[in-house]
């Protein structure tokens, strides 16, 4: 699956996007975050306060318990500050 990052989440991870293949058992957005945090300190840093980072699946806002099944693109970003 493709992951995309924005604003300070992007800066902390050091990438705008990447393709990952999480192992079996990674079923939800929260599972994916836990798995990413084990991949390196840049992910640990980006997700140090998990409750703050928002997620979207295929351009739709989702909660941490959202299932990943069928997802093409998952985005992680800080709370929005547009307008």
């Amino acid at each position: 699956m493709k992951l995309v990052y924005f604003a300070w989440v992007r800066e902390r991870i050091g990438k705008t996007e990447e393709t990952v293949e999480p192992p079996e058992g990674i079923a939800t957005v929260a599972d994916l975050v836990r798995w990413l945090k084990g991949k390196g300190e840049e992910y640990e840093y980006a997700f140090e306060n998990e409750a703050v980072v928002r997620a979207a699946i295929d351009h739709v806002h989702v909660k941490p318990e959202a299932p990943l099944a069928g997802a093409r693109e998952i985005a992680f970003f800080p709370p929005m500050t547009g307008g």
Binding site: A7, W8, A56, H59, A75, M80, T81, G82, G83
Partner: protein, 152 residues
């Protein structure tokens, strides 16, 4: 009604957008235009940098517009949100709502702005007068509260 939604780096002309929306229409009784500008924060900022999530920005604004159409009898809705480097005094966002009567236009424009601020995937970063890049702007709890009052 189909909302006109544009995400662009170029400036926009609110008066021209209003004229386009109302052209040839005898049924529109009111338009309300909200324009958001870049502030210099007491002379501290040289610019705001706006990052967005292409694709989702359009999709999310369309969902918010759809919700506004379900709540108010709108006859037109235009939303323009800029991205990139925006200097103090320049425009950032336009919400233009048209209806037969003023109340629907006022309320729909305010609803659109409250939701845009908390749901549309845009992020602001400060560029400072001394030439350095400052911090990402933090989301305000007051914006969440403003959005929340429309539900329930």
């Amino acid at each position: 009604m189909v909302a006109a939604i544009r995400i662009q780096s170029e400036p926009f002309d609110a008066a021209a957008e209003t004229a386009v929306l109302a052209a040839g229409r005898g049924d529109i009784g009111a338009t309300v235009a909200f324009t958001g500008f870049c502030r210099d924060e007491g002379g501290r900022l040289s610019a705001l940098e706006l990052e967005h999530y292409p694709g989702m920005a359009e999709a999310e604004i369309a969902r918010i517009a759809h919700e506004a159409e379900a709540r108010w009898p709108l006859m037109g809705l235009t939303v323009i949100h800029r991205f990139g480097l925006i200097r103090p005094g320049e425009t950032i966002v336009l919400v233009l709502a048209a209806s037969a009567h003023r109340r629907a236009a006022f309320e729909a424009a305010e609803f659109m702005m409250d939701y845009l601020k908390t749901r549309a995937p845009f992020w602001k970063r400060e560029h400072l007068k001394d030439g350095t890049v400052g911090a990402w702007v933090e989301a305000k709890g007051s914006d969440d509260a403003a959005t929340e009052r429309w539900s329930g």
